[in-house]
Subunit: 136 residues, 2 copies
């Protein structure tokens, strides 16, 4: 069985958050607006994406530690060590982040969204419509 | 800027669905139960994962077509061609699937979950607790 796969960024997050120490603990706690710039060669994949006002954006947290399996939730050392699959820590074997966000504006290859705390330059891997029946 | 990243399966889906033509159109439409087998070397990451009854499981749909950018939603040719980012089609540049599922049982490195339509052998990339505040 093939054991590794290649992912390819389809775009990048553009944000006023420039480093990890500026990032809030959870995207939805913030009122941060971010711009998702989809690369021109994937532009066709956006056709009709503006029909949904709620999107799921999957990012690759390229600065996260992939070797950590146990963390103190929210960095609080008074909380017991917990497996990363039991937390939303960025540290995890595949540092994927799933953001459920409001689509604020959409023009060309640019999506403006609310509630993404990823730092400027974070690779975007996928965009999907959020579907209540599937995702809530 | 680095343009490609390697993902690594942390486990596999075990299911009675053995091929794509047996799979329903959407996981949550089905009552399919699946077993998620986490590889032993990632076992520590599961510590505390059983605290949540709702999980987000991210899979890599290894049989999906990565070159398709436009699809007829749900395979219905009467519907106009739509960009894959506007649909939940498995075909997409990075064939990531996000399943929000009920955790039915948890023992050792095995999670029993309801509502995953991925075929037997599908790589699992990540498991997260579903958090209402973030994900609904």
């Amino acid at each position: 069985m093939k054991d590794e796969y290649q992912i390819v960024p389809v775009g990048y997050v553009r944000s006023r958050i420039k480093s990890r120490d500026q990032a809030p603990r959870q995207g939805r706690d913030s009122s941060v607006e971010a711009r998702i710039e989809i690369l021109p060669r994937f532009g066709d994949a956006l056709r009709g994406a503006g029909e949904s006002t709620r999107l799921m954006v999957i990012c690759w947290l390229h600065q996260a530690d992939r070797d950590t399996l146990l963390v103190h939730p929210r960095g609080d050392k008074s909380l017991p060590l917990t497996g990363v699959f039991g937390t939303r820590s960025p540290a995890r074997p595949n540092p994927l982040a799933v953001y459920t966000v409001d689509l604020l504006a959409f023009e060309g290859n640019i999506l403006m969204v609310g509630g993404i705390d990823a730092i400027d330059g974070t690779p975007v891997l996928d965009v999907k419509p959020h579907v209540h029946r599937l995702d809530d």
